[in-house]
């Protein structure tokens, strides 16, 4: 892939919406790859004990999936220069074949200097917003 040109982007440009299924297996794989083995991300008993409604996705896994929507649109994972999220609600991941889901929408909110663009993300699960102030700055060609 090659990097998207800043001249092809305007304020208001919408990124393609993506829906990601999230299963327990995804969380176990992410735990191993990231080194975050907090049991609330794979153990129902522990999740319930600490007052959660069930096993939830790692916030950083949610952030990674939402980040892919930006980098795959920009055409280069190295294009992301700034990325911020606030974790609002957890993403519940039931222990069944369907699991949970994450819907990610993005929109160019500002054009910055040096061919950079700010993308504001809307990230929901089962209709609830799970991230707030989710913003990425990409360096375009």
């Amino acid at each position: 892939m090659s990097r998207l040109a800043a001249s092809d982007v305007a304020v208001g440009t919408e990124l393609p919406e993506r829906v990601f299924p999230v299963t327990r297996a995804d969380l176990v794989r992410y735990a191993g790859a990231s080194g975050d083995f907090n049991p609330i991300h794979w153990n129902e008993r522990v999740a319930l004990e600490v007052g959660l409604p069930g096993v939830i996705a790692h916030g950083m896994f949610t952030m990674a999936l939402a980040g892919r929507v930006v980098t795959e649109w920009a055409g280069d994972p190295g294009a992301l220069v700034e990325y911020h999220v606030r974790f609002g609600r957890p993403v519940l991941v039931p222990d069944d074949h369907a699991g949970g889901e994450l819907t990610v929408r993005g929109r160019v909110a500002a054009l910055l200097e040096d061919n950079r663009a700010r993308v504001d993300l809307t990230v929901t699960s089962q209709g609830d917003k799970v991230l707030s102030l989710a913003r990425a700055v990409v360096a375009l060609a």
Binding site: A33, T71, P77, G78, E82, Y83, F87
Partner: protein
């Protein structure tokens, strides 16, 4: 228990060198479903202008979370970790992390606040090569929920 505001600005000694491996990058990319060949194929990465395969942007957490643990081990930081949740996360990338990078992480306490009975602790981890070239900064805000 409220955190001492004098902690703000406290910096910890740099981490041991972390060498970024191609295998670890590929494993992380697979875990987040990132199938861009620049994460796995050195030729594709070079064609895109990088010296070797590059890590996905949030890969930095694998390194910075570990580095920030130094704060959790500080006896002056009284935080009930069983009640800690991740509140916010920011990455500033000077360039992508690349296989072969030898990185050092330095952790600083950036902010301490109490809001509505919750303790908020913000740490910043600056990641640079062992030669001092800045690579990224990761800022994490942790929330210790106040007891019921």
């Amino acid at each position: 228990m409220a955190l001492d505001r004098d902690l703000v600005g406290r910096s910890y000694p740099p981490s041991a060198v972390y060498e970024v491996g191609r295998g670890k990058i590929a494993e992380f990319a697979t875990a987040i479903g990132a199938d861009d060949p620049v994460h796995r194929d050195p030729d594709a990465a070079r064609a895109a202008g990088y010296p070797d395969v590059i890590a996905p942007p949030t890969f930095a957490i694998a390194l910075t979370l570990e580095a920030a643990n130094v704060v959790l081990g500080d006896p002056d930081v009284s935080l009930d970790y069983s009640r800690v949740v991740h509140g916010e996360q920011r990455f500033t990338h000077h360039r992508p992390m690349c296989a072969g990078d030898r990185l050092v992480a330095t952790t600083t306490i950036e902010a301490v606040r109490s809001i509505g009975g919750n303790d908020l602790l913000t740490t910043r981890v600056d990641v640079a090569t062992e030669d001092g070239e800045p690579v990224c900064a990761a800022t994490s805000m942790l929330v210790a929920r106040g007891g019921a």
